[in-house]
């Protein structure tokens, strides 16, 4: 089905071809249950409970 006429001939807002969001392969750990991994992330981003930053 065609787009509405208002969309044709206008300058776009995206600006460039979009790349597929990359999935970090390392994060796919065999055997790690999704619930357990969610808990780990939650703990890491909770103020006062996260890791110490090493710079």
């Amino acid at each position: 089905m065609p787009l509405r006429a208002a969309r044709v001939g206008r300058v776009g807002v995206i600006g460039h071809p979009v790349a597929k969001t990359a999935v970090v392969a390392k994060a796919v750990t065999p055997g790690a249950a999704p619930v357990a991994r969610t808990a780990v992330v939650a703990a890491a981003v909770t103020p006062g409970r996260g890791r110490r930053r090493r710079i």
Partner: protein, 161 residues
Amino acid sequence: MTSTSIDQRQEMTPLDELGPVDYLVVEFPAGKSNFTGEMASELVALVDSGTIRVIDVLILTKDEDGTVEPMELSDVGELGELQAIEAQLAELLAQEDVDHLAAAMEPGSTAGVLIWENLWAAPFASAARRSGGQLIANGRIPIQAIIASIEADEATASEGD
């Protein structure tokens, strides 16, 4: 109110009050798309709570040969809860955006494109601009990246045991 802040307020336009605008593309395998179920309910809830304002929605289908067929939300048969959202769309996306967005799609898939304004962030963004600040970078950290970072950290720690 100081004279400076009065001047700044007089210079404000509706754009100064606009919250950050984001987009996402959600892809479904061929024949598995579902835009009016649970996803629609959650989207409507975000709108109703004033968290976001939906600016535009398009549905794209990419054929096996790479041809992209765009579809307006209004062309979807039964919109259900999305009816109210469809009536308020601003049609921001242009024809050329369709090709740019579809570049991320797999051949044979269908995707929903959503453009929205983060109403929750608008007051903070306006305040930052009035304070003279300028957004120079932003982005999203994938949960997978956080998990990978944590696991790498744990691996390093266990090596030290």
